[in-house]
Each structure stands twice: as C-alpha cells, then as structure tokens.
C-alpha cells in the first residue's frame, strides 16, 4: 500500500510527515543556493533567521563570476566527467563479467575466490591508501613519444592512476553475482542447446535481463566510489598537476585565511547541480532499479 491508495484525509496524514522530511532534507541545498547569491557579510547577517534560506538582501551573481577567476572550473569538471565515465563504464564490464563467472560458471575454487572478494569489503579505503600510493608510484606503464613506445615507471600524475585502481569493485561484483544467481537456469541451457558459448550467453541473454542491476551499480559507482564524482583523497595524493585535478579538490581552492563563503557556496552549487539534474531526470529509473535489484524471483 502506498499513499496514493489511501482516502484523502488519511492521505494528508501520510503526506504530511513525508513533506516535512523532504523540506528538512532540502534545507542544506536551499541554504547553499541562497548563500551563493549573497556577500559574506550578508550570509553571516542572515544566519540567525529564516532569511538564511531565502535569496534576499543584496543578491548578485558575483560569487559565480569569482569562481571562474579562482579555479579552472571547466577543466576540473571535464576531468571529473571523464574519470567518472571511464571508471563506471569499465567497471560495468569487468565487474559484471566477474559476477557472471562467480554466479553461473562452475570452476574449482569459486567459493573461495568469492569469499575472498567479499572479505575485501571490510577493509576501509583509508587503511589501504598509503600502500596503494606506494604501489602505483612504482608500476610500469607503456607510453608513447610520438609513435615510439617508451617504458614509463610510476603512474602518478596521470588519468590512468585515477581510473584503473577503481575499476574492480568488490561490492559491484557481489551485486552482479547475487542478481545473476536469481535468473532462471533454463535460459542458459536453452542458449547452450542453440550453440551459444558463455560469452555470447552473457552478452545476448544475461545482460539484457539484468538492466536493473546495471543501473544500480552505475548509480552506486558514480555516487560512492572514491574515484568518481566525489573523488578527493586519492587524486589529492596521486595527482600533482592542476591540469588533471577533479572538482572536489577544487573546493579547497576557496579556503584561504579570509575564506569567501559566498564563493564556496557558488562553487559547491555548480558541482552539485549536475548530479541533482541527472538524478531528477532519471529518478524513476533509479528508484525502479534499486527496488527491483533487491527482489528475488
């Protein structure tokens, strides 16, 4: 039963707490947008009243203009979009194939490997970041000078150091494996009788039936991976060139001895709005995917 099936009076009581909760959760975003239009003096002057959430007083777009003077915004945004896309796209391929192998193929040691992958989930990223930095600083890479291949040592200060270490994701593998296990075995048996190999079965049968879990993993990767939209600590430690920095590191550009809070709010608005817009545009699909990914046949 949901709120729409209730009678009008009961529907009102159902909606009231939900509306209050929605308003409560919207406060930070409304404050951010309102403050981004005000001078610092105005922001602090309004702090003790409800005016803090309203675009009132001396409002202007000056803070937004100042953002472009302080940071190379489009460069940072482009870097984040590129890295987020690559980590997500490569992750969907690699993690779904891994999940498929663990869920649907029979091979020796499968349970041990699956348990080992799940076990890595208990290690917080913060505890592994230092050895990871040391590791990537000494990994080889084949680059090119013109058309001549050269062996480079050290991945620091590159795009690939922001992408490759985060393609494989244990939680994504777990989600894919669990979802694939719920699909009827008869589908694969029928495909096998028609002469399809495992890769063709995966691509033609499994993937089309698994759109919800792909959508779920996409959302989780974009929102929660330490290398995508919210990437901060890892690029901070491995990327020294301003040309390669993502948007979240850019936030720190605004914290000076005399921090301009209006500019901070303008910048945060500019990097939050794309994500909010994407969520609103795909809201229905997101909710469906998360709901159906949690169901069992």
């Amino acid at each position: 039963m949901n709120a729409m099936t209730l009678r009008p009076r009961r529907r009102l009581w159902a909606y009231l707490p939900m509306t209050l909760l929605a308003v409560f959760f919207l406060f930070p975003i409304v404050f951010m947008l309102a403050a981004s239009l005000k001078s610092d003096h105005q922001i602090f002057a309004d702090m003790d009243s409800f005016r803090a959430f309203l675009p009132v007083g001396g409002i202007s777009l000056d803070n937004y203009a100042a953002v472009f003077d302080r940071v190379p915004f489009w460069r940072f945004l482009g870097n984040t979009i590129f890295v987020t896309f690559m980590v997500t796209a490569l992750g969907l391929v690699v993690n779904s194939l891994c999940g498929y192998a663990l869920a649907r193929m029979r091979w020796k040691g499968r349970a041990v490997v699956f348990a080992f992958i799940i076990a890595t989930l208990i290690l917080p990223f913060d505890t592994t970041i230092v050895p990871m930095v040391y590791l990537v600083a000494n990994l080889p890479w084949i680059g090119f000078e013109g058309v001549r291949p050269v062996l480079e040592v050290g991945w620091l200060n590159t795009y690939h150091v922001q992408i490759i270490p985060f393609v494989v994701n244990a939680f994504a593998i777990f989600l894919f494996a669990q979802y694939f296990k719920s699909l009827p075995k008869g589908l694969e048996e029928a495909a096998a009788m028609d002469g399809a190999g495992w890769l063709r079965t995966y691509w033609r049968i499994i993937v089309p039936l698994s759109k919800p879990v792909f959508a779920t993993v996409t959302i989780l990767t974009v929102v929660t991976s330490p290398a995508t939209w919210n990437a901060y600590l890892w690029p901070l430690m491995t990327v020294q060139s301003e040309e390669l920095r993502p948007v979240m590191v850019g936030v720190q550009y605004f914290f000076q001895l005399d921090t301009s809070w209006g500019e901070v709010m303008a910048y945060i608005s500019m990097i939050t709005i794309p994500m909010v817009a994407v969520f609103i545009a795909f809201q229905r699909a997101f909710i469906q995917s998360i709901a159906s990914a949690g169901m069992k046949d």
């Binding site: 003096h41 000494n138 001549r148 040592v153 901070l236 430690m237 720190q252 914290f255 921090t259």
Partner: protein, 425 residues
C-alpha cells in the same frame, strides 16, 4: 616519472625488461640534472600570492640561463597530505613552501635539506620567519602573521576601559575587568570573539600563547621529551580554568564563526584575530584598534611562524639556494605584503609597504611579532601536539574537566614521543 625507450630495452634484454626494471620515480633529482627546478606552493586559489610567486619565477628565469624554475600550486588545506604522499612515493619537488611549525617534522623525516644562504641575508629576517631545527636553518619566509586584540575605540571608551599599549599591555586583572565592563555596560552579545569554529591549527596558533603567557607550554622545551608539567602543571591548569571561564562566564561564544565574523557583524565587542583580518575590519569600522595581547602572567605572547620556503632533500642544492637567494629580496618581500596584506619579514621591506611602514596603519603588527612571538615547539612531535591540543582545548571550551583534559593531552603527546624514540632529542 622516468622513461626508457621500449624498443631499445626490448632489444637489449629480449623483452624481459618490460616487467623487470625497478626504476625509481623521482621528479626532483631527475630535473636537477638538466637545470630545471620544480617549486610547489600552497597558494592555489590565492591569486595575490600566486601573482607574486610568478613574478619571482619570471625574474629569476629571465635573469640567468643556468636554471629554469617551474611552479605547481596546491590548495592550502590539502597541501600537507599531498606533500606527505609525494615524500612516500619519492616524488618531491626541488623547493616547496612549508608551514613553519611543520619544518622540524619534515626535516626529521629526511624530506628537507639545510639551507645554504649567507648570514647577511638571513640576519635581516624576523626571527620567527626562520625555520631552525637542531641548530640548522631549514626554511625562511617572506612574511609573518601576528594576532592582536581587535577593538573599537568608541566601545572601550563607553565601557571606561583603558586603551593598552605595547609598553603597557593589559594585565590579566585589567583584561578580565575589561570583559566584565563591556559585558555589563554595552549591548554586545559577546565581549570577545575567539573564532572557536576554526578548528585546526588556529587552536594552537591562537590559544597556546595564552597558555604560555600564564607560564605553561605545549611541551617541556628543556628536553623536548615530555609535556608533563608544561601542559598540565599549575600554570597550565590556571590557564585552562581561565580560558574555560571566558565561555562559561558568557564573555565568548562557544560557537563563534571563523575569521572574527562575530566582531565584524557587531555581535562581539572585541576579537582575538590575525593581521589578515585587519584590513576588512578597517573597512567596516573607522575607529578599530589593534591592541597588544594581555599579559596573563609572564608577558604578552602571540603565535609565530607562518609559511616559509624550504629545499627538499632530493634537490640540487646549488640551484635551489641560488633561486632562494634571488627570491628573498626586499622588493619581493614587500610585494607579498602589498599583494596579500602579510607582515613583511624584513624592516627594509616593511618601509616599502603601504601598511607596515613606520607610519603605516598596521605597523604595530610588526612590533607585536618582534616583541611577543613565540614559536610553536620546534620538534617533529609538533604535528601530534597540534592535533592533541586542538582536541582537548575543544573539550575545555565545551565545559570538560580541565585537569582531566590536560592530563589526557600530556599522556597522548608523551606516548607519541616515546613511540618515536624521542624524535632524536
């Protein structure tokens, strides 16, 4: 990052070289050989400081042809993490900026090498702009920062409070009485703004000088091996109770925003604030005064040591010292001050500035720095001392038991020093 021609490697070793060579990545030593020097600064997002830095680089690069200096800048709040990661991966630059109190730690860790600059150059700099660890100079700064008590002359007059001078600062009794009179005789919500929301280095930088003025300290500087007695002795306990009383007595806001905003907004009558807040305050109030800190027992004290230049251990010392010598001219020192409102590190440079010259509106900040500045303990343990002091001072501000808080702070600091075998002391 190092590069090897893959075709030649393959030819020389039959392909095994693809995975075999353990080539160390080391940007500084790599570039030193060809006369290139890489400089890291903490100034990303600070247009004024970056403009002067670029001016220095342009002048140096154009004035000789032996070395070429390039810059990479990082945001200040994230800078230490970036440098520590680079040290871990062997990717440090040739020169970098470093916050004064961190110099001993980075020198002890082997990341810095001593400077080789002529004494006639370094002797002209304010003592607190020199980063000295175990009798060796590791860093030097273009500027200094200083805290003072921001107040309005009209408010002090209304409350009948004497205006203190550098020769005759407020005593503790006078300061306490001033707070009480302001609270009683004016409409301000708070008597003094201490910017308590600025959790981090502000706490030891701004508040530990009060502790030192009481006669306590962050560490026993006779041995640098323990905080016992210094941070939890009678003087420190007296400081803790007095400091807590500022909040429990209603004189200061427990949740005051950063940057002296309660003062700027007219909610607090006075503020304890750094010189970087002076020009905005002058814009807001035409009768603002920048008063010396109170003498709480052993003389007025303020924090010393701001951002400085250092040479990494991987750098070519000849090139790096040549660059530093050129960069430390009075003109550049004055340029930093004029551009960013910082206190110039030399007297000659101060005379070239608008605000810190003999007749400048902020000249007293130079005097406060010279007379009252106390460096945070010059020990590698300072990074831990800083975070521990911040944590337990927060407890004290929020009403925690003073003795328990200071004993716990001493315990954590001493444990760190012991686990690092005394950091070489």
């Amino acid at each position: 990052m190092q590069r090897r021609d893959l075709m030649k490697l393959a030819a020389a070793s039959g392909g095994a070289a693809l995975v075999g060579p353990a080539l160390a990545a080391c940007s500084a030593s790599e570039s030193a050989a060809d006369g290139e020097l890489l400089v890291w600064t903490h100034s990303a997002g600070n247009e004024e400081e970056l403009a002067v830095t670029d001016q220095i680089l342009e002048s140096f690069n154009g004035g000789q042809d032996e070395y070429t200096v390039e810059r990479e800048s990082f945001p200040q709040d994230a800078y230490n993490d970036t440098v520590n990661a680079a040290a871990l991966s062997g990717d440090l630059p040739d020169l970098l900026t470093v916050d004064g109190p961190n110099v001993p730690n980075w020198a002890w860790a082997g990341n810095l090498q001593p400077l080789d600059l002529p004494a006639e150059l370094t002797d002209r700099f304010l003592p607190s702009t020199l980063g000295i660890f175990q009798d060796q100079l590791y860093s030097i700064g273009h500027w200094e920062a200083a805290c003072s008590v921001f107040a309005r002359e009209s408010v002090l007059e209304a409350a009948g409070v004497r205006v203190p001078t550098i020769e005759e600062p407020w005593s503790r009794e006078e300061f306490d009485e001033a707070l009480e009179r302001i609270a009683a005789d004016t409409d301000y919500q708070w008597a003094i703004d201490l910017s308590t929301a600025d959790i981090g280095e502000w706490y030891p930088y701004a508040y530990s000088p009060f502790l030192q003025s009481f006669g306590g300290d962050l560490l026993d500087r006779s041995t640098y091996l323990t905080a016992e007695g210094a941070l939890n002795g009678e003087a420190a306990l007296a400081w803790g109770r007095w400091f807590q009383g500022l909040f429990t007595g209603g004189f200061a806001n427990i949740e005051s925003p950063v940057g002296g905003e309660d003062f700027n907004q007219g909610k607090a009558a006075m503020a304890y604030m750094g010189n970087w807040g002076a020009l905005p305050a002058m814009d807001l109030f035409d009768d603002v005064l920048f008063l010396p800190p109170p003498d709480l027992g052993t003389g007025p004290k303020i924090g010393g040591g701001s951002w400085q230049w250092a040479i990494t251990s991987a750098a070519d010392p000849a090139g790096a010292n040549t660059f530093l010598e050129a960069a430390l001219s009075d003109e550049f020192v004055a340029d930093f001050s004029n551009a960013a409102g910082l206190i110039p590190a030399t007297d000659a440079a101060a005379e070239l500035t608008e605000h810190y010259a003999s007749d400048g509106a902020l000249r007293m900040m130079v005097d406060y720095s010279r007379e009252f500045a106390v460096l945070r303990p010059e020990t590698p343990a300072y990074t831990v001392i800083s975070s521990v002091f911040t944590k337990y001072t927060g407890d004290i501000i929020h009403g925690g038991d003073v003795r328990e808080a200071l004993d716990a702070a001493v315990s954590e600091i001493d444990a760190d020093i012991e686990s690092n075998s005394g950091y070489g002391f």
